[in-house]
């Protein structure tokens, strides 16, 4: 059957996952990620296409898409800012970062800027507790944040679409229990 919205390239990327598992359904999480990357969010058409490719019913796909937080069921901005709000971050200033982001972007939590550039979400622990406060923006972490650093990141993203302030592999602040 012809797909509604996904490209042949997306279909091929999804089908390339099949050999990894004894069961096609196991590809569902990856398929939804591929679909979301292509369409920008999981529209009904995208979910129906995924169901078609994996021989599932649309509701089986919808069931999973609504369970996991990384799937967006509505359109989002180009840069999705996910602020960690759990205890370790909250203890050292996540609240201030959230407030600062709301002021700078002029939007509330769960909203997208009118130019479609930024969406703001609050999320639970992202395993970056020693470098708190922190945010994830699309596929990168930004750690040890201050309001000033947040401003620089937003400026970079507006200007260049990326920022050199993104974290690379885990930094080693202290090792092996220094006496």
């Amino acid at each position: 059957m012809k797909l509604k919205i996904l490209s042949d390239k997306a279909r091929a990327a999804i089908e390339a996952e099949f050999p990894k598992y004894p069961d096609k359904r196991s590809v569902l999480l990856a398929a939804l990620r591929i679909a979301q990357n292509e369409v920008g969010y999981l529209s009904e058409a995208a979910m129906i296409d995924v169901a078609e490719i994996l021989d599932l019913t649309p509701v089986q796909v919808y069931d999973v898409a609504t369970f996991y937080t990384l799937y967006n069921l509505k359109p989002v901005g180009k840069h999705v800012i996910q602020v960690c709000k759990t205890l370790s971050c909250a203890l050292v200033g996540a609240g201030q970062i959230i407030e600062h982001l709301q002021n700078r972007l002029g939007i509330g939590v769960g909203e997208t800027t009118p130019d479609g550039l930024f969406s703001l979400k609050l999320v639970e622990c992202l395993a970056s507790c020693g470098t708190a406060p922190m945010v994830q923006i699309n596929n990168r972490y930004y750690e040890n944040l201050t309001p000033e650093k947040v401003d620089r990141i937003l400026d970079d993203l507006r200007r260049e679409g990326k920022s050199s302030l993104a974290s690379g592999p885990f930094q080693l602040p202290v090792l092996g229990g220094k006496a």
Partner: protein, 435 residues
């Protein structure tokens, strides 16, 4: 000089080490895998791990060798090993370091574990947010295949192994081992009723072992240096070195690799540099959000499974969250209850509904609308959640409430009597109702 010789963090603490296959092999990497494949029967590998005393580093602390020995030996079909890299317990960030800085250490552990349990298929379940970690593991897996360390006929021994990276999509509960299996099967991550246990009916209903990243990363070292060496660290029942993730109000947050059984005082004041601004310590969560709060009075408790349990908490994932004297305990409990409420998978009514009710009551106390009878209500609600859910999440979600009530009841009463939070008059709500 570090006070304790690092084991898991050793390679990555060398200047310039980036964790490529070449670098890892130069440190003796994959020699343990080769040694077992070429000369140690699987049953003997399991005995070595049993003898080492290694217990799971994910949270429950189950003896690893024993877990492996539950896999039926004569099972004709496939068996699976799943590496749990879903690191999501609030305060925990050690697996991320192990993955991003020395991925082959974990992969070698996976290889040895598969050989020991007779599995030819391993899945690494990594949380969806770890994009960088996923890229790094994917690259490392490719390197291992290219070097014939994975794939067919490894080291010419006839042993075959396929390793697949499976990415999650955002759900704390997928760190629970049966929810993890459901998620690999392409379903909602909802824990299964046990029994049957994964050892006989796991992934695709086949015998399955699920081990944490840090647990598996220890395996090559146990093979290379012997179970006695491993057991020489820590305490008789909590053997080995362990990564503790220190966060919150300390001067030097970080992952510290120390022998189990050092005191919380040593961890917080010696390694993590003490409390920021030299304030007074108020509360410690010694093992992730699921572990009950402890207080200054517990600083000399030893950080091993038994001692922490005796003090009324648990060692859990090794995440030590430290709070200073200015921290409102109701606010802290409420923050964690928001977490639990958001992450409850919804399968069991006591957990799903109970987390909402507990959160609502904490919220009204924190915002000055609490009633004295709320304190008994919190306890009675918690007791109706405890032990009445399919997985351990229900027991976990009541721990911040019950433990803060136990140690800081006066603070609750002050909030109710004065109709306000004495610590955070305005700030609460920046974080409440977040989702």
């Amino acid at each position: 000089m570090p006070k304790y010789e690092p084991v898991l963090l050793k390679n990555m603490s060398q200047p310039g080490y980036t964790g490529t296959l070449d670098e890892y092999r130069k440190t003796g990497g994959y020699t343990a895998f080769e040694k077992v494949l070429k000369g140690i029967p699987p049953a003997e590998v399991i005995e070595i791990v049993k003898k080492s005393g290694l217990r799971g580093r994910g949270g429950a602390g189950f003896p690893t060798g024993m877990k492996w020995s539950f896999i039926p030996k004569d099972h004709p079909g496939p068996k699976y090993l799943c590496c749990n890299a879903d690191e999501s317990e609030p305060g925990t960030y050690k697996d991320r370091q192990l993955i991003e800085n020395d991925p082959h250490q974990m992969l070698e552990g996976i290889g040895i574990a598969c050989y020991a349990i007779g599995s030819h298929n391993a899945y690494i379940y990594i949380r969806g947010e770890f994009d960088l970690g996923a890229e790094i593991i994917q690259r490392a897996i490719r390197e291992a295949y290219d070097a014939h360390l994975f794939g067919k006929n490894i080291f010419g021994t006839g042993f075959d192994l396929d390793v697949v990276l499976h990415r999650g999509a955002g759900a704390y509960i997928c760190g629970e081992e049966t929810a993890l299996l459901e998620s690999i099967e392409g379903k909602r991550g909802k824990p299964r009723t046990k029994p049957p246990f994964p050892a006989t009916h796991g992934l695709y209903q086949k015998p399955t072992v699920v081990n944490n990243v840090e647990t598996l990363a220890n395996i090559p070292h146990i093979i290379n240096r012997g179970p006695e060496w491993f057991a020489s660290f820590g305490t008789p029942k909590s053997a080995g070195m362990r990564l503790f993730c220190v966060s919150g109000h300390v001067k030097k947050p970080g992952n510290y690799e120390v022998p189990m059984g050092i005191t919380m005082r040593e961890m917080i004041y010696e390694h993590a540099g003490g409390i920021r601004g030299d304030k007074r310590l108020k509360a410690i969560i010694p093992g992730g959000a699921s572990a009950p709060f402890l207080t200054e009075a517990h600083l000399d408790v030893k950080m091993d499974f038994e001692s922490i349990a005796q003090a009324g908490s648990m060692l859990g994932s090794g995440a030590v969250t430290v709070m200073d004297e200015d921290t409102c305990m109701i606010w802290a409990a409420m923050n964690l209850m928001e977490f639990f409420h958001h992450e409850s998978c919804g399968k069991c009514t006591p957990c799903r509904e109970g987390s909402a009710w507990l959160l609502k009551i904490l919220h009204r106390i924190e915002t000055g609308h609490g009633r004295m009878e709320d304190l008994d209500l919190l306890v009675s609600l918690s007791k109706r959640i405890e032990g009445r859910t399919v997985c351990a999440f229900g027991d976990a979600e009541i721990s911040p409430v019950l433990s803060t009530l136990k140690h800081f009841r006066e603070e609750y009463e002050t909030h109710i009597r004065e109709r306000r939070c004495p610590f955070r008059p305005n700030a609460v709500l920046a974080m409440a109702g977040a989702h």
